[in-house]
Amino acid sequence: MSTMLEKLTINYPYFFAVILLVIGALTVLTRSSLFKKLFGISIMESAVFIMFIAAGNIRGGTEPILNGHNTGAVYINPLPSALMLTGIVVSVSVNAFALALIMRLYKTYGTTDADRIAELRNEVTDK
């Protein structure tokens, strides 16, 4: 039990990541508001980013920059951060695209609620 707790305290970023992931996934799947779905996706993505960056972190490490006076010191792994930068770029474009789509839907249906949109659509097709 104590080892379990120990693991928990050492690896707390991962637990945060998992909790965020679950929150995000739940939001995406259960909320009917299109905006909330989008927020859920963003939260999930952030969770994964946190996981990656935590993996690259070394406690007491310095920044991995070659500037002449920290050679030899332990430095953190820069690769996950660089990768997550790309991940953030991707997430920005996803968000932008999703917002554009939400706007288009809002203009057509006058609402951003997925259930309501489904109802309205059925009414339109029924006619």
Binding site: I65, L66, N67, G68, A100, M103, R104, K107
Partner: protein, 141 residues
């Protein structure tokens, strides 16, 4: 937006933000940040300009055509820089292998093609941010 204070202050601050963005872009290979982070800063300065001075003015200064051109050529620039290696008979995106002078590590003009690529990508990111903003704010989408 007709707020006088906001307009004056942003008139003073925005150029500096913009320049700071370029600084981040140019120093991407020797310090934290880089073309994406810098590009975002530049882009945000332009977006701030649009929010403060209104869309018409912003549109007049940043017509859609120019933004599209920057976006396309920014990406093409990257590819062309990558193809330098191919033309020299070494792999794509080769830097030192392609015979480019990579300079002394730690100085601004080091890293060969990286700096050139950074500039291209940086302004591309800036223009993309602005385009996205315009696309979402303006009526037709």
């Amino acid at each position: 937006m007709k707020d006088f204070i906001l307009k004056r202050i942003s008139a003073v601050i925005l150029p500096f933000i913009c320049i700071y963005g370029f600084y981040v872009i140019l120093h991407g290979h020797i310090s934290p940040g880089g073309s994406f982070a810098g590009g975002i800063i530049v882009g945000l300065s332009l977006i701030a300009f649009a929010t403060v001075y209104g869309m018409e003015k912003a549109r007049a200064r940043l017509p859609e055509k120019v933004l599209v051109l920057i976006e396309s050529y920014g990406t093409l620039w990257y590819v062309i820089m990558g193809l330098v290696g191919v033309f020299k008979g070494v792999p794509f995106l080769a830097n030192k292998l392609a015979g480019v002078n990579v300079g002394e590590p730690g100085t601004l003009f080091s890293g060969g093609l990286i700096l050139l690529i950074s500039v291209g990508v940086g302004i591309r990111v800036a223009s993309t941010m602005v385009t996205l903003f315009f696309a979402l704010v303006e009526d037709e989408s």
